[in-house]
Symmetry: C3
């Protein structure tokens, strides 16, 4: 029942698997989606640890495991199971009843793989950006750990984004991918936009990141997207206009995220965001895209008529439901690969 | 992975399947219960969306799927998954993070069928009675949608009631079914009593609806029960005495429900209900039934010694546990039929 | 679908299965762990009713069922399903919407076995110690009931403790088992220490129970441990020093529990406990064990650096992760035995 922790393979971030590793995974996902692969996860158990809520991730992983003969055990610490301490060396005389070290070790004995969702916490981005919960889980768990969205990355979403781009654009290489910020009533994490940018860069797309001033992604993530794009022969541009940035777009990825600089200061952040409600994807804005036919992506859940108008979501440009469906197929491929 | 929404078949209300459709389903359920059918749901996934709590529905559906090779994914929006917006066209800048339209579309891509439980909300019966949550879910989901209890109907319960009546009464045609109101500390929905009345009418039973004045079912539901009874050659009587109404009953269906007229006005409703605690099923009252041997049904959960006395529930007239077990068998039949 | 309640077999407490019954179960668990037994639970459903939270129990049972072809349905009354009334004869006009009698009967129709977790409630130990929730569930459910931790017993944990002792000590007969109290911010139940003592006594180990004065286990449990030890030729000693008690220990079971005398009086109990934070397992203390190599057990979740120091938990003496893993294997054996 034990695995050599040193040699096990996690899926914490797309960039850690390399361009070839991701390309192979996407090819497998396409074959899985065409129904070419059955079975492969018999007697395999994946524990899904949700420290934050989920609909798509949970449903799609549970279905993915089942379709290939496996089973997902869903745990929600603090709701139905114990709340977890994440500080190393903590004197645990407060409310947290179990340390993540022990949860990781134990789940690694029951399950063949463990998925973990843990959104950023606290009020200090320099701490939150270290993504310690998912990193520690991977460190102490002897089985493969899958990132179900951490402070910095949502690589399963990135995989689904990539497969969707491939399906709708043919070869995405050299095509134009616009990641555009949207207003939202809350300051959301940057894991999804960072992962979408990384995914587009790994596909060799030219990337525009459009956001109001003050809403830059973490500089390390922007630099990473640039470096991946460079090695794939494509370029990254930063823009700050919600209309002009869309010109010539083949794909528009709409997403809200909070100011990293004001992380953990919700009142200030809300004030900063207050004048930006015009950053919303509307049908007229789509006319700026290539031939007016640029596809629109969003990871869901989406705030209708706030991030994206009904007319866009329910219109012909939207591929958000395909994108959500692709979560299922990329995760089937991922688990087949991780547990083969 | 796509289905023609126009031709898919939902199970939202028994009356929509017609007398013959329901009769065939009950026959299949009886065969399933006798163990004559194995398998049939291999690789099939049903998503169960509970916007309100459940014990029987969840356990019985999860078991039903498993016994035939399938799998149920259980989602609880607002608890573990996102809370859902139900208003069309809403500008979603409040607390609700996902629109039912998108949840319905996405779950329809992951699952082969989707079950939805959504009790009535708000304070306006003219709105709640439109049963929009379950209707919208069915409209936007490309896979069959099953009603796990909505504002107006609980058709899986109605099926279980019908199978139980058939098992204990032989041919129920022309036998006497008394649906009798009971006091309860809360104003409960009318979905169960409406569905029980519809089930009894579809079986051709003579129906008595006994309730205090002011506790009429929604007039449209009463009219529907009357029209189904009429085409099956049976009759519907309204009564308002908790003793006399039981005379000659072959089956007594005990159930509490709130005043539709005072829907969403809990204080007024509680005051209206205050003097009605005598509407309780007691052992002496059962002597009024046919030969004192009328069977007693209740959908459960039941408030013991409030709706029905211990002596009745634990005595020989009660078939409530058989009735609960039948939820399993009718749902096995339903899913075999919907996903065949 | 019905079973003769009189002849069904529950697993509520290890002592009820006798020394031979437990020995056979442990032998089966060892074979299961070695991978010698596959299948055996096809089409079998176990309902797991958690009235209190769980990580290990839930994950390990769900995995156990799945690995042998079965399925676990997880219910959390009060969170996702109805909250349960436990008083016999209650007039249920308060908050509780379902009686345990009905839940037990219904789940016994859907599932082939039912597991129940119910920690002690209320402020009267003379009532809580009767363990009525689990006893009533077993009484009214027609299928085998498994105790997932009640007020008095956690027999699945006891089984895992026993298997771990066998694995690490060879034949545990005559070896020294020290059950030592630890400080904890909350007054915890005594089910785990009582069950650990019973397990060690059934293995024929010499037992030391070390606890501060005022922290005696329930006298009936201590007497039971003594009587089981006596018939197995071993002895039980009570100690009240956290250092001396460890001398010569082959195994140290660290566990916190609340004062039974101050049950349900949390402020008084906390005051009583206040001066006892030195009851903590440290690396220096382990030097007192046999050759400094006494193994350290704990049921988890553990409060790190409060009950046990990081140095101990992460050091070579600790077997807590093996012990947690063994929950899986003993439960696989248990369910194979109960449902064969």
């Amino acid at each position: 029942m034990t695995t050599d922790v040193a040699t096990k393979r996690d899926f914490l971030a797309m960039e850690e698997w390399g361009d070839d590793g991701i390309a192979a995974l996407l090819e497998l996902a396409a074959r899985v989606k065409r129904g070419e692969i059955s079975g492969g996860l018999e007697k395999k158990v994946m524990a899904l640890v949700f420290m934050d809520p989920s609909l798509r991730t949970r449903s799609s992983f549970e279905t993915a495991l089942f379709l290939h003969g496996g089973h997902a055990v869903v745990l929600e610490p603090g709701r139905g199971s114990w709340s977890l301490e994440t500080e190393p060396g903590a004197v645990m005389d407060g409310d947290k009843v179990e340390h993540i070290v022990d949860a990781a070790r134990v789940l690694g004995r029951y399950a063949d793989a463990v998925g973990v969702r843990a959104f950023p916490r606290g009020d200090d981005w320099s701490v939150a950006r270290q993504d310690r919960v998912i990193r520690d889980f991977a460190k102490y768990c002897e089985k493969p750990v899958v990132n179900l969205e951490s402070a910095r990355r949502h690589p399963c979403q990135g995989l689904a984004d990539a497969l969707t781009l491939q399906e709708h654009l043919g070869d995405p290489r050299g095509k134009r991918f616009v990641l555009t910020w949207a207003w939202h009533p809350k300051a959301l994490p940057t894991a999804v936009p960072a992962s979408a940018g990384i995914a587009a860069a790994m596909l060799g797309m030219d990337i525009v990141i459009a956001r109001p001033d003050g809403y830059e992604l973490d500089p390390e993530d922007t630099a990473l997207i640039r470096s991946i794009a460079r090695r794939n022969g494509s370029m990254v541009t930063i823009a700050n206009d919600p209309d002009d940035s869309l010109v010539g777009a083949d794909a528009v990825y709409v997403k809200s995220w909070g100011s990293v600089k004001l992380f953990g200061r919700p009142e200030e952040e809300a004030a900063e965001r207050a004048g930006l409600r015009d950053w919303r994807m509307t049908q007229p804005r789509l006319r700026n895209t290539r031939g007016g036919r640029g596809i629109v992506l969003h990871c869901l859940p989406v705030r209708r008529n706030v991030e994206i108008d009904d007319a866009v979501l329910d219109g012909p440009n939207s591929v958000v439901v395909d994108e959500a469906e692709n979560r299922l197929h990329v995760q089937r491929a991922l688990m087949l690969e991780l547990l083969k």
